[in-house]
């Protein structure tokens, strides 16, 4: 039997909608207290990211913004329920320089969130001490931070493991000035040991990863590692999917197993089960056309053979939709969330020129692609007022003020990070869940949440990784549309299937495992 704890509820009026509700956001950067810029030259052309997590136990998600050559900045969330977004920069111990990205994760399963800092240089794991204080734990946990240009991260607990396995993706060899192409630094897999981490093993071949995600693509119970690679720098490379089995060396899926070669400027991964076939679909950001992959067949023995349905679903997002530029776009962070609570998953994509690439758009607005009832997505970034022309990279969508609407934070290269409050009128109902289970893996990374809304079952895989150097740990948000109570169940990481439970709309619920 699951234990459901109602923490607090914030009721959103029920409004019937036939067409997608247009999301509305108000930019509150100037009044939010956020004042952070991701800076740096060539070595920081990818990144920076944002980590969104709650480190003071108040239920409101705080965040760490990567700074590049500037120091990272931690912001405590001081927002009031339903109010303006308010943050305060406070010392946390996370204020390192050369940070490109950050992912929250309770590595030691002590119920206090830790942080992995991806850096241009040594990566650092920071142990949470409580009260939003952190300390370096590389030595204590046997984590070899290396000295590379780290640009991707994913984490999972292998079956029976007490400590997580961390995958770190690396980019170009910084020492190669004239001929950096083909110099992709090896990616690393830091497998959990009895306590801490074993020496990292190289995930060879490595092809300049810009996003990684442990995902149970075939519902086998053993997540695989998807790696999205930047074709600009690899030679002989492609997108990758790794088998990761307990006690075995990682190995790549092969063409004989159904894997198809795909070569893109891979920059970010987002996943969601859009077509309700029970398996995650993957949105891969790139330059010009982006990809939306769905399994070609879910009959019989599954093969990792995907069809690209980006065009059919309206999410190629290949060039700016506002601002007058016709040159192709450059896409980075992507995240599936329901921003208008209509029960249909939407898609946010951060956009921005790499650096002075004149054949790509310089004024490249971020996308907010809102799903309609026919399964196609409609660009609403301009109407929603989130069509920023800054050079965006990482991002996060979270309900920072607990009003039941997902807000948006975006990290920009060379200009201030921006934050928007979601003020959508006429949005649907919602619930927010947070999973917890006994140690290890207290946040149930690898679990699957199913929400039954009428006849439709929406699935959500709880992951750590993906996006573009930006990670979140905390509430999982589901829009419900007009539904006033949803049926919810959890498939825990070890495969145990919880029972269906009823959660009333507007509830923020901790879902615990007995």
């Amino acid at each position: 039997m699951l234990r459901f704890f109602l923490l607090l509820a914030f009721f959103i009026p029920l409004v019937a909608q036939a067409a997608p509700v247009t999301p509305r956001f108000v930019e509150e950067t100037a009044v939010s207290g956020i004042n952070s810029t991701f800076t740096g030259d060539w070595e920081y052309m990818v990144g920076g990211g944002v980590a969104v997590f709650d480190c003071d136990g108040d239920g409101f998600e705080d965040m760490l913004l990567a700074g590049g050559t500037s120091r990272a900045t931690f912001y405590r969330n001081d927002s009031k329920p339903g109010g303006e977004l308010k943050f305060a920069a406070v010392q946390s111990g996370l204020e390192l320089d050369k940070v490109a990205g950050a992912y929250p994760l309770d590595i030691d399963s002590d119920t206090i969130t830790d942080i992995v800092l991806l850096r241009v240089g040594e990566n650092v794991v920071m142990r949470g001490l409580g009260g939003c204080r952190f300390e370096r734990a590389n030595e204590a946990w046997g984590f070899a931070g290396g000295n590379a240009w780290s640009t991707a991260f994913a984490a999972m607990w292998e079956k029976g493991a007490s400590w997580p396995s961390l995958a770190v993706g690396n980019y170009i060899d910084l020492t190669q000035e004239e001929f950096p192409w083909g110099s992709c630094t090896e990616n690393w897999l830091h497998r959990g040991a009895q306590k801490g981490f074993a020496a990292p093993v190289a995930l060879k071949p490595s092809y300049c990863a810009l996003s990684m995600l442990f995902t149970d693509w075939n519902r086998s119970g053993s997540p695989s590692l998807r790696v999205s690679n930047d074709r600009e720098y690899y030679k002989g490379g492609q997108e990758q999917l790794w088998h990761l089995e307990v006690g075995k060396e990682p190995r790549l899926y092969t063409e004989a197993e159904g894997w198809k070669r795909l070569r893109i400027w891979g920059m970010g991964i987002a996943s969601a089960d859009l077509n309700a076939d029970g398996y995650p679909d993957y949105f891969l950001t790139s330059m010009a056309d982006n990809k939306l992959q769905i399994l070609k067949s879910v009959e019989g023995e599954l093969k990792p053979d995907y069809a690209d349905v980006a065009w059919a679903k309206g999410v190629t997002a290949q060039r700016p939709y506002v601002g007058g530029e016709i040159k192709p776009s450059t896409a980075w962070h992507a995240q599936f969330e329901d921003v208008n609570n209509d029960g249909l998953t939407d898609l946010f994509v951060a956009k921005g020129n790499v650096t002075a690439m004149p054949d790509f758009a310089m004024k490249d607005p971020n996308n907010l692609l809102v799903q309609a009832t026919d399964g196609k997505f409609v660009e609403m970034g301009e109407q929603a007022r989130v069509a920023s022309f800054e050079t965006s990279r990482g991002a996060g969508l979270a309900d920072f003020n607990h009003d039941g609407l997902l807000d948006l934070v975006v990290v920009n290269r060379g200009s201030k990070a921006q934050i928007w409050r979601n003020v959508t009128a006429g949005a649907g109902n919602w619930i927010a869940l947070r999973l917890t289970q006994p140690a290890p893996n207290v946040d149930a990374i690898g679990a699957r949440v199913e929400v039954k809304n009428g006849e439709v079952v929406t699935q959500r895989e709880i992951t750590s990784g993906g996006g573009h150097v930006s990670g979140q740990l905390g509430w999982v948000h589901f829009g419900l549309g007009k539904t006033e109570a949803a049926q919810v169940r959890v498939i825990w990481p070890d495969g145990a299937v919880g029972e269906w439970e009823t959660v009333k709309a507007g509830a923020r619920v901790m879902v615990g495992r007995p």
Binding site: W42, M45, I172, T175, E177, E178, F179, P180, W181, G182, R231, E232, Y233, K235, G236, R263, A288, D289, D308, A310, W311, T316, Q318, R319, I326, K327, P328, V354, T355, A356, M357, P358, D359, F360
Partner: protein, 437 residues
């Protein structure tokens, strides 16, 4: 010894595997300057967004002519291409009675023209060009009297500026939307080209006006006409159907070696050094093997660049004359709706085959320069993890490049046969150029 990546590593030291000598002793040799910059150019054509094969061929021509004119201006044995290729006027003369350092002249000329031609490359390419320019520049000028170095550098830039001004008027200098038209009325006949992929930008065909560009050695883009392809038909008894069936059957029964051939010559735009870059790579290996001096090096590279550029202009002129659909379009419509070729189908009309035309031209140019039965090993795909292939002659390599497109499922046989023939015709104009006095 064949040209490979590790032969040219600049980390403050240029390592030359062929000679085994330390860089310091030979870095100033002008032929090495050519090799170093060309290696970078082969990377830049892969990593610069507008560099589809026609655009790459154009740059190979201008880089080659720049290098040649820079060297010829100080070498009485070489005959300038001014007055021989379309629109090129004599480069300014060197200041009489003054000393010039050939490596500095050449380095400055190449650095300048390459920075111009690849001005739109990304931040990494810019960083690479800057690093090459500064490190190699310092090395070639090492030990050279400052006034000589300054004079030589200025002259090299003058040569590049002269070529740059010439290039600006050829019709191919400005590439918008990566070469894909923003608007174009596509003919809708059954035989007409239609988009073959779901890339938004590629729903209109690449560079439809490239065939109108000013040529180099041949009079114009239509100078080497080819016969039309078989008349379009969907009847099984037709010649057109037979050609499509050949492609279909080739895919169905493809052997391991045929698959290897298709992939070896794939040379996809923005994923490789491109088809013209593949032949530049072959030429560089040949030059390195014979330890060619700078005069020979720039002569070969200029002539090959010209031949390749003319080949793409001629080929593109024919492509948009016939505007033929690709095998994937026909086969899916008429034979098998789920058919998939091995290679990515390029986003422009089928007839004739671009790789065939330019390979046919390249083979003729190189045969004239290196001989009829020049056997060589082609390691152009080492970076992609594909094993080298051996050829008894340049023409044998061109034949294989041509048939690779049938194995790959992206061309019918007529496009290959007539493309190779068109290339041979185009090369005759290049081969008529005089580069020696």
């Amino acid at each position: 010894m064949v040209f490979c990546r590790r032969d040219f590593i600049f980390g403050g030291i240029l390592v030359l595997a062929m000679s085994g000598r330390p860089l310091g002793a030979i870095a100033a040799e002008p032929a090495r300057v050519v090799q170093a910059w060309y290696r970078l150019v082969l990377e830049l054509v892969r990593h610069t967004p507008t560099y589809t094969p026609p655009v790459a061929s154009r740059s190979f021509a201008y880089v080659g002519v720049t290098a040649f004119e820079a060297v010829a201006s100080g070498n009485p044995k070489l005959k300038s291409l001014a007055g021989q290729v379309q629109g090129l006027k004599p480069v300014p003369l060197r200041e009489a009675g003054q000393e010039f350092h050939e490596a500095v002249v050449l380095h400055a000329a190449l650095a300048s023209i390459i920075r111009h031609l690849f001005a739109n490359t990304g931040p990494t390419g810019q960083r690479a060009m800057n690093a090459m320019g500064s490190k190699l520049g310092a090395k070639v000028a090492d030990g050279v009297a400052s006034d000589v170095a300054a004079r030589s550098e200025a002259y090299g830039r003058t040569v590049a500026a002269h070529i740059q001004a010439w290039a600006a008027e050829d019709g191919g200098a400005v590439i918008e939307n990566m070469g894909f038209p923003l608007q174009m009325d596509l003919p809708k006949g059954s035989q007409d080209w239609a988009p073959t992929n779901l890339v938004r930008q590629q729903q209109l065909p690449l560079l439809p006006d490239w065939g109108k560009n000013r040529t180099f050695a041949m009079p114009n883009g239509a100078s080497c006409k080819i016969p039309p392809p078989p008349t379009y038909s969907e009847y099984q008894a037709s010649a057109f159907y037979a050609e499509a069936l050949e492609v279909y059957e080739a895919r169905k029964n493809i052997t391991e070696d045929e698959t290897a051939i298709a992939r070896f010559w794939a040379d996809d735009a923005m994923l490789s050094k491109t088809p013209p870059g593949h032949w530049i790579h072959i030429a560089m290996n040949a030059l390195q093997k014979e330890q060619a001096d700078v005069a020979r090096s720039v002569e070969v590279l200029a002539r090959l660049g010209i031949g390749l550029a003319d080949a793409f202009i001629g080929c593109w002129e024919a492509k948009y004359q016939y505007n033929l659909l690709r095998p994937v379009s026909y086969i899916r419509r008429v034979m098998d709706p789920k058919w998939e070729p091995i290679l990515l189908t390029p986003p422009f009309p089928e007839y004739p085959s671009g790789h065939s035309t330019q390979s046919g031209a390249a083979a003729e140019v190189l045969t004239q320069l290196f001989g009829e039965d020049y056997a060589f090993v082609d390691n152009a795909q080492d970076d992609e993890g594909l094993p080298p292939r051996s050829f008894a002659s340049f023409r044998a390599a061109a034949q294989e490049a041509g048939i690779s497109r049938l194995y790959g499922g992206i061309h019918f046989r007529a496009a290959i046969v007539n493309g190779l023939e068109q290339g041979r015709c185009i090369a005759a104009f290049t081969n008529a150029l005089r580069t020696r006095r």
